[in-house]
Every structure is written in C-alpha cells, then in structure tokens.
C-alpha cells in the first residue's frame, strides 16, 4: 500500500474535464455510448465524426494520444472476432485482394469494430480523468443503490490488498519450489485460491467489526455532496449533444429507425 493512492488507470492533470463533477461525466459518457450504439452502421461518416468528438474531448482533458491508444488494446479479443466475421457470415460475396468475403459479414465487422472502439475510448477517457473515489460518488449521485455503491467501494478499496495477498502467496509458493507449469499444479493453485477466499472473508468480518465499533449501522455518511452547477452540466453535455446531432443527421440521411435498418 506504499504506492500512493491514485489508481494507475487515473491520469492526474488539471483540465476542465478533470474538474467536472463525476456524475456529469458518467451521464455524458453513458449518453454518448448509447447514441453511438443507436447509429445505423451504413452512416460511415457519422462514426468518423464521433471519433473526432472523442479526440476533441481527449485534447480538452489533456490525455496524450499514445496513452489513449495503449488502453484501447483491451479490445483485441473482439477485434479478432470481428476479423473472422467476413469469412463465416453467409450472403453475397465480394472479392477483395483475392479473398472471397461476405458483404454482410464485412458490415457486421465494421459495426462491431467502430462501435466497440468508440465505446472503449469513451470509457477510457472517463476512467483516466476521474478518480476512483469520485467515480463511486458520482454513481451514488446518479441514484445507484447505496448498498451497491458501498460494495463497489469496498471492492475498490480492498482490491489491491487482496491482490497483494495473492502475490505474496505466489512468492511464498515459488520460494518453496512450486512454480505452476501445468494442469498437475492446479491443486496447489486452487488451494491458494481457497486460502485467499478464507482470508478475504475473514478480513471482511474484521472490517465489519471495526466499522461497527466506530458507529456503522448500515449506511455511510455522505461527506462531500457537491451538486453540479448548471454550467457544469452544460459543459458535460457538450459531447453527447454533439453526438446526438450527428445521430439525427445519420437517421435523416439513411432514413428510418436505426434497428429497423438492421444495425
């Protein structure tokens, strides 16, 4: 626990985006993602505009492009899936570079890739401009049940502790000559997992006792309940409103509701 209190996902800076109240940012990102998902996939230009919007937000938040792109790597498994799609989807075939690809498959791959990437980029922006604790406060302000917020905050707070415990167990195993190499060692690893569960559970019991002895009765007091001003809401709404404008334009151009067009 000597490693400072900011999570490594958070990137400290003093930008207008960082200073926005967390619940405004969460609402904005959620609205933006929903807008992107509702966009018909045939409107390719709309996704380009969305990408520009995300890039503009990243610039406003002073997030370097390299940081954002590195965090996008989380998407790789689904990129692999999307790349497979042109080969397995039946339908009309087109020939690109000597490969026979199915047209609906290409559209499907484009759809998943574009929307998935934009969603990940928006989430990354949120996580890197908002501290963990304020993120939870924001969720609470957005009327997420308090018990769920508490569970989430305990998970965040003790996640590193439990992970460290697991790391110490691994070091203890390895210093006794056990390096897991195959299925034969699953028993050892599973026993570590069992011990880790018992330690976590008992830590939970101790934490609860410590809290009860300090007056905990099932709810946490809200300490800094800073409401957002109208200007802040307006500032946060800039991103989803711009996206909404793009969405409406896309609807007008392609015609009809997004899901009626099969997207």
């Amino acid at each position: 626990m000597g490693a400072g209190h900011a999570h490594k996902l958070y990137r400290h800076a003093h930008s207008p985006v960082h200073t926005l109240p967390p619940h405004c940012k969460i609402a904005a990102v959620l609205a933006f993602v929903l807008t992107v998902v509702a966009t018909p996939r045939e409107a390719v230009w709309a996704f380009g505009l969305y990408a520009l919007l995300v890039a503009a937000a990243a610039v406003a938040a002073r997030i370097p492009a390299g940081f954002l792109l590195r965090r996008l790597l989380i998407e790789i498994p689904f990129v692999a899936f999307a790349l497979l799609m042109p080969f397995v989807v039946p339908g009309e075939k087109t020939h690109v570079l000597g490969l026979s690809l199915s047209e609906p498959g290409l559209w499907g791959a484009w759809n998943v890739l574009a929307k998935g990437t934009l969603g990940v980029a928006a989430s990354v922006l949120l996580a890197s401009t908002t501290e963990l604790r304020s993120l939870l406060l924001g969720l609470q302000r957005l009327r997420m049940p308090p018990l769920l917020v508490q569970i989430a905050s305990f998970m965040i707070r003790y996640g590193d502790v439990v992970t460290d415990e697991m790391r110490r167990m691994r070091i203890a195993r390895e210093s006794r000559g056990v390096t897991a190499r195959g299925v034969r060692h699953w028993g050892v690893l599973a026993r570590s997992a069992g011990a880790l569960f018992i330690r976590s559970y008992e830590r939970g019991e101790r934490v609860h006792l410590a809290m009860v002895s300090r007056g905990y009765a099932g709810t946490m007091p809200v300490l800094d309940d800073a409401a957002a001003s109208r200007t802040q809401w307006a500032y946060a709404a800039a991103l989803p409103l711009a996206a909404l404008a793009v969405l409406l334009a896309a609807w007008v151009v392609t015609g009809g509701l997004p899901w009626a067009a099969g997207s």
Binding site: L9, V29, L30, V33, L34, V37, A38, M85, V88, P90, G91, P104, G105, G108, N111, V112, K115, L118, G119, V120, A122, S123, A127, P145, L147, L148, I151, A152, F154, M155, Y158, G159, V162, T163, E165, M166, A180, V183, H185, W186, G187, L189, A190, S192, A193, G194, A195, L196, F197, I198, S200, Y201, E205, H208, M211, Y216, A217, G218, P258, W259
Partner: protein, 444 residues
C-alpha cells in the same frame, strides 16, 4: 466473453439492462436479509477476491493459461444473492474502469455472466448436494458439476440474447455451436478449479460454504476444561449465531508468524479451535489427508496455538463427545470405514447398473474409432488381439447365447475384475503411505 458496445442492438441492450437491474435489486434485498449490515464489507471483500482470483493464471500447456470466471465459485461460497452482487459489481467496475465490456452492454454482461451463471450453478449445486451422500467428496463433485453446467449455460443465454438482438448476421445455429462448444471446454477447466477450490475451503472452514450450510453443523463457541496442565486453556468453537463476533483470542490474526510448527510451550494459554465431532465423512482418506489439512491450518498463521488446534482438529474425526486432544493417531481408522463403505457401495451399485443394465441397450456396432478404422480399411492389417480366445473376448461371455445378456454379463464381470485390481492397488498404496505417515503424525 465481455460483450463490447455495438454487438447487441439498442432495444435489446435496454431490455437486458432492465432484467439486470431487477436481478440486482432482488439480490440486494436477499443479501441484506442474509447478512444484515455485514452485507457491504463482506460482499465487497468477496468481490475483491473474485476480481483477484480472475487474475490467477492456471497454466494449461505449452504457454497457454486460463483463469477462473468465478460465477459458480461465488454462488457456492457466498450464496446466490451475494454472488450475483459480487459478480455484478466486478463487471460494473471492469466496464467503467478497464473498458472491459461496453457500457451500453453492461446489462447484457450482468444478466449473462452474473445472473445466469450464478443462478444455474447454485441450482445445480443444491440439487446435487441434496441427492448425493453427505461429505466433502460430494461437495467437490457437486461443485464440479455446477461449474461445468454454468459456463455453457451462460454461453447459451448469450446466444439467446444474440438471436433476439444481435447486430451481425452470423447464423444463430453457428453462434450456438461455436459458443457452447468452446464454453464446454472452458467449463471443464472452470469446473476443475472450482471443485478444487471449494474442496480446499471445505477442508479448513466448512462453515463458510454458503450453499452447503445444512451439510455441516455450524461451529460454536464453547469453553472446554483445561487441556494443558499449567495454564488456562480456552477452547474456541465458532458459534453459528454470531460467527463474526469472535473474541480477540481468535487465532485468525494474520499477523501471527505463519508456519510456526513449534510445540506449544507449557504454561502459555493455548487457544484451540475445534469442530463438531459428528462429521465422520469429512476426512475419509484418513492419515495423509489429515496431515495435509493440518498443514493448511498451520499456514493460516495461528501462531503457537497451532499445535493444539491441529491435535483437536484430528480428534474431531472421532465421534461426538471425544474431548481428548491427545489422541491424534487412533482417529482416522476409527471413523472412516462407515462412510467409505457407503460411498463404495453406492459406486459399486452404479457401476454394476451401468455395466449390466445400460449395456443392454448399448449400440452393438463397434466404437467410433473401430468403425472409422473399418470404413477406411485401416484395420485390415490389424492383428487379432492376443486375448481373442479368452472367455470374455469382444465383451461377450462365451457360451451364453443371447447377445445382449451376454454383453451385460461380461460388463458385470469386467467391473468386478477392475474393482478387485483397483482395490488391491489402493490398499497397497495406502499401506505404503500410512507407514511413513504415522511417526510424523505423532511428532506433529
């Protein structure tokens, strides 16, 4: 398996979000009823555990490795309500913080991986625990089956969601085959790890396994007559009513030096942790297993009291009321036969029924490999098996006319022979392992 944005269309995403919200609301109620004000810290820590254990890599072979998904494990260890909450919170945090799984697909992810996995695993586990004989082996088997079923069930649920609101045109049949096929494989790994983990927890703290609460009697706090001649000895039984309000004497302080196997100093207060004695099945493979569990217990960091705890834990193998902690050796053989015999009899019955009865209905055509070999002419050069002339060749009994009865009879005889050989090997192995184990058990 985290579904990204754009994979499921907007209306279905919204519908699954409503389903997920409902399930989470029900779970919140259930968890609060079960855990009262302990709900937040306990569920939070278990969520942290699930999050951590998903990072524990289980090497498979040649550099590949898998990890636990944790749905079945959470359902078995903390129950369906808390389990759903924990997995949902983990998914929420993964979505918001790590961008793993799209925000708009959060409902899909929670209903699929959180709710379906947990509920299916819990239902299967409870059903099996009720059917199987009581004991740790049954717990392990039940958790294996629960985890094995839960993962393909989630895959099937995903396919269902995809069939309603998928944005791509991959045929549903193909998606189903691919998803369920892959996830049966994943489920096998998940099942093995979950079963081993549950078994490890059952060895040390059986009272913590929520889904098997009625299998094990709760541990209770009780003050025993002094066991050490020179000093007040508190013997501690965990209470079923307030297991969490343990006195400061509780040996779970992780600060204690782990692995101290030194004998208890006479005169020091010895805290011993004891189980109820009436769980004879728990330790069937007698001595070696008992030693191993004792090792676990010691590594839990119980300090100098660990030795007393060990000996008492061993005494726990004896029938209820045995208060003498100084007899660790005579315990195993005294308690095991009954349960082992029952398990043995059940297994034998199942094997005989399968061999004798089910083979009556079995296909008489050769097995797949033989058939392929025959069709392709691979086996034209195969020599007749050396045992061709034996009385049981080709799974038929010589001189019995009816082919099906003959096959069944051969199966029964085969089971008998296999059983005899297996038992002989087991007895020899156990004798050899028990011989070196006895002196070290005395020295513990």
């Amino acid at each position: 398996m985290h579904v990204p944005d754009g994979f499921i269309d907007a209306p279905v995403s919204a519908a699954t979000a409503v389903v997920a919200a409902g399930a989470v609301a029900v779970s919140l109620r259930g968890a609060r009823r079960e855990l009262d004000d302990k709900a937040a810290p306990l569920a939070g820590l278990v969520a942290a555990f699930i999050f951590a254990v998903q990072m524990l890599n289980f090497p498979v072979a040649a550099g590949t490795s898998g990890h636990l998904l944790g749905g079945a494990l959470a359902a078995i260890l903390v129950g369906p309500y808390t389990g759903v909450l924990c997995i949902s919170v983990v998914l929420l945090m993964q979505g918001v913080l790590f961008a793993d799984g799209g925000l708009s697909a959060l409902g899909v992810n929670i209903s699929d991986m959180g709710v379906v996995t947990t509920v299916v695993a819990y239902a299967v586990f409870r059903g099996l625990v009720r059917l199987l004989p009581r004991g740790r082996a049954s717990l392990t088997a039940a958790s294996f089956a629960a985890a094995l079923v839960s993962v393909p069930a989630a895959a099937a649920a995903f396919t269902l969601i995809y069939a309603v609101g998928g944005t791509t045109d991959v045929p549903v049949g193909k998606v189903f085959t691919a998803m369920v096929g892959v996830h049966v494989l994943i489920g096998l790994g998940e099942a093995a790890i979950t079963a081993l983990t549950v078994s490890a927890v059952a060895a040390v703290r059986p009272d913590l396994i929520h889904a098997a609460r009625d299998v094990f009697r709760p541990l209770e706090l009780r003050t025993a007559p002094p066991t050490e001649p020179a000093g007040p000895a508190t013997s501690l039984r965990r209470g079923g009513d307030q297991p969490q309000r343990r006195s400061p004497a509780v040996p779970d302080a992780a600060a204690g030096p782990a692995g101290s196997g030194a004998p208890a100093v006479p005169g020091s207060p010895a805290t011993s942790l004891r189980r109820d004695g009436d769980q004879p099945q728990r330790r069937s493979p007698a001595v070696p297993d008992g030693r191993e569990e004792a090792g676990h217990r010691r590594s839990g960091g119980e300090g100098p009291a660990a030795v007393a705890a060990d000996s008492v834990a061993k005494a726990g193998m004896e029938p209820a009321g045995a208060d003498a902690p100084e007899a660790p050796d005579n315990a195993g053989p005294a308690a095991t036969p009954r349960s082992a015999r029952r398990l043995w009899l059940v297994g034998l019955g199942v094997a005989l029924v399968c061999a004798g009865g089910v083979s009556y209905y079995a296909s008489t055509s050769p097995d797949g490999l033989e058939k392929v070999a025959h069709d392709k002419g691979i086996d034209s050069k195969a020599e007749e098996h050396a045992a061709k002339g034996s009385p049981l060749a080709d799974y038929q009994v010589k001189d019995v006319a009816d082919e099906r009865i003959s096959g069944g009879l051969a199966g029964v005889i085969g089971v008998g022979a296999t059983l005899a050989v297996g038992t002989a090997v087991f007895v020899v192995v156990r004798r050899r392992r028990a011989a070196p184990a006895a002196p070290s058990a005395e020295g513990a």
